[in-house]
Symmetry: C3
Subunit: 214 residues, 3 copies
C-alpha cells in the first residue's frame, strides 16, 4: 500500500515536470495551444504509456487518474496565455537542462517501480526504467523533426545517467529495504549525473570511430 502511494507521488511529480519541459520546447517552436498541449501530453505520458504497453498494464495511468489530463491542460493554458507563467517559461528556458534532467530522474524511477511491481527480473526492470525515462524526450524530438539527444554523440550522459540511477535505487531497495530513500537517491543521482555531464562535459570514453577522425 505504502509503495503504491509513493509510486503515485513519483508519477504525479514526473508528469508535472515533464509537461513543463514540453512547454519550453513548444515556446521555442512557437506552437499554438493544441500543439503545446499535445507535445506536453506526449512528453508526460509517452514514456509511461510505452512502459504500460510493453508491460501490458491496463488501464493506463492517465486513464486510471484522469485528473492528469486536466493538470497538463492547465499547465498548457497557463504557459500559453497567462503572463506570469510566460515569464516563468522564459526563466526556465535557460534552465531547460535542469527541468529535463528532473523529468528524466522521476520517470526513470517510476518506470523501474512499475516494472518491479509486475515481477520483472532486475536487469529488464532497469532497462524499463531507462525506456520510461527517455521515451518522452525521444517522441518529442521525433515529432519536432530533431535527432533525439540519446542518439547524438554530443548528447552527453543521458540514458547512462538513468541506468545508473535505477541501479542506485535497486541497491537501496534490495540491500537496505528502503524504497523511499532509494527513490530519492536514485532520482537524485540521475539528475546529478545528467547535469554534471552537461556542465562539465563528462562523457563516455570516445568510440574508435570518433578517434579515427582525429
Amino acid at each position: 500500500m505504502e509503495s503504491i502511494s509513493l509510486f503515485t507521488f513519483v508519477e504525479a511529480a514526473a508528469v508535472v515536470v515533464s509537461s513543463v519541459s514540453g512547454m519550453i520546447k513548444a515556446a521555442e517552436k512557437k506552437m499554438d495551444l493544441v500543439g503545446a498541449y499535445s507535445l506536453a501530453l506526449l512528453v508526460s505520458f509517452g514514456g509511461g504509456t510505452l512502459r504500460d504497453v510493453l508491460l501490458n498494464r491496463r488501464p493506463f495511468f492517465w486513464i486510471e487518474n484522469e485528473v492528469y489530463l486536466f493538470v497538463v491542460l492547465f499547465v498548457a493554458i497557463a504557459f500559453v496565455y497567462v503572463p506570469v507563467f510566460h515569464k516563468i517559461a522564459k526563466l526556465l528556458h535557460t534552465r531547460s537542462n535542469t527541468v529535463e534532467a528532473t523529468g528524466l530522474g522521476l520517470f526513470s524511477i517510476a518506470g523501474l517501480f512499475a516494472a518491479l511491481n509486475m515481477g520483472m527480473p532486475l536487469f529488464s526492470a532497469s532497462l524499463m526504467g531507462v525506456i520510461t525515462g527517455v521515451a518522452g524526450g525521444v517522441f518529442r524530438d521525433v515529432v519536432t523533426n530533431e535527432i533525439p539527444v540519446i542518439f547524438r554523440y554530443t548528447g552527453g550522459l543521458y540514458a547512462v545517467a538513468s541506468f545508473v540511477g535505477c541501479w542506485v535505487c535497486i541497491a537501496f531497495m534490495f540491500l537496505l529495504d528502503a524504497a523511499f530513500t532509494g527513490f530519492i537517491a536514485g532520482a537524485a543521482s540521475i539528475v546529478a549525473l545528467r547535469l554534471m555531464s552537461v556542465y562539465f562535459g563528462v562523457q563516455l570514453p570516445r568510440p574508435l570511430w570518433v578517434k579515427d577522425e582525429e
Copy 2:
C-alpha cells in the same frame, strides 16, 4: 447491434478516404507501389491500430475485417498504375485539405465510438477520438520527415476541430439518444471547422510567445 453496423460503416468510409489521402502524399513524394501502399496502410490503419493498442482491443479491426487490406491494396494499385485514377489524383491534389478533413472527421468519430463501447469515461473517450483522428496523419508526416501539422503554429484548427466534433457527437448521443445523427453532426462539424480554419484562417488566440516577437 445497430450501433455496431453503424460503427463498421464509419470505419470503412474512414479507411477508404484515408488511403486516398495517403496516395496524394505518395504522388507528391514520387513513391513506388510499395511505398504508396505502406503509406496508405499507415494513414488508414495507424490511428485505429494505435487506438486498439491503447484500449487493448483485439483482434485489430484490419484483422477482423481482412478485406480492408485488399481495399487499400486496390486503391494503391489504381492510383499508381491506372490512368483514370491518376487523373483523379491530380484533381484531388488541389482538394487535399478536403480529403484530409474528411478522414479526420470519420476516424475521430470511429475512435470515439470504440472508446465509448469499451466503457471509457467521456473525457478520455473524446481524447481517444482525437488521437485516432490525428495519429494517421502524424505517422505519415513522421515517416516522410516532416513536422506533423498538429505541431505547426500555422497548422490552424486540427485537433481542436476533432475535439469539438467529438463533443457534438457526444451531445447528440447522450442528450438526444441519437447515435446516427450524432455521427453525421460530429463528423460534419469536424470537416466544417477544419476547412473554415484552412480557408478563412480561423485560429486559436495567439500564444504569448508569438506576441512577444511582434
Copy 3:
C-alpha cells in the same frame, strides 16, 4: 516443439545480424556507446516488439530470453571499443546492403512464424512478416532523421522482397510440410531479391506520377 526451437534459432540469428546492422549506422553517425546500444536494440528488437504488441503476445521475446539484451550489449561494446571489431565494422560498411538484407530475411520469417503460431490467416500473417522485417529499419531511420528506405522511390525492392519470401516459405510449409526448408528458402529469396534489386537496379514498374515528369 521442433518448430519452436527452429523459431528460436531464427530469432537469435536475426537479433545478432540486426544489431551489427545497427552498429554500421551508429559508426556512420559517430554515436557514443549508449547511442549505439540503443540503436542496436531498436533495430534488433523494434520489429519483433511491434509484432508482439500487434499480436498481443507476452512476455516479449527479449524478456523471455533476457540473454538477448546482453548479446546486443556485447556486440555494441565490441564494435565501439575493441580494435579488431572496429576493423570488421569498416569492412562491413561496404557490405551494409548484405547485412541489412540478411536481417530483413531473418526477421521477416521470424515474424511470419510467430503470426502463424498465433493462428492468424495467411495473408495477415505474411503482412506481419513484412512488418516485422521492415519495422526495425523504419525505426532506425526515423530516429536518425532520415526517410525510411521503404518510402523512397529509389529504395528498390525491400518490402516486396520480404513479402515474396514469406509466400515462398508459406508454400514450402503448407504444400510440402517442410518448415525448415521453407525458412531457408524464404529467407534466401528475400536476401537474393533485395540484393538483385540493389546491384542490378530491379524495381517495380514506374508509377504514373513518375512517368509524368519525363
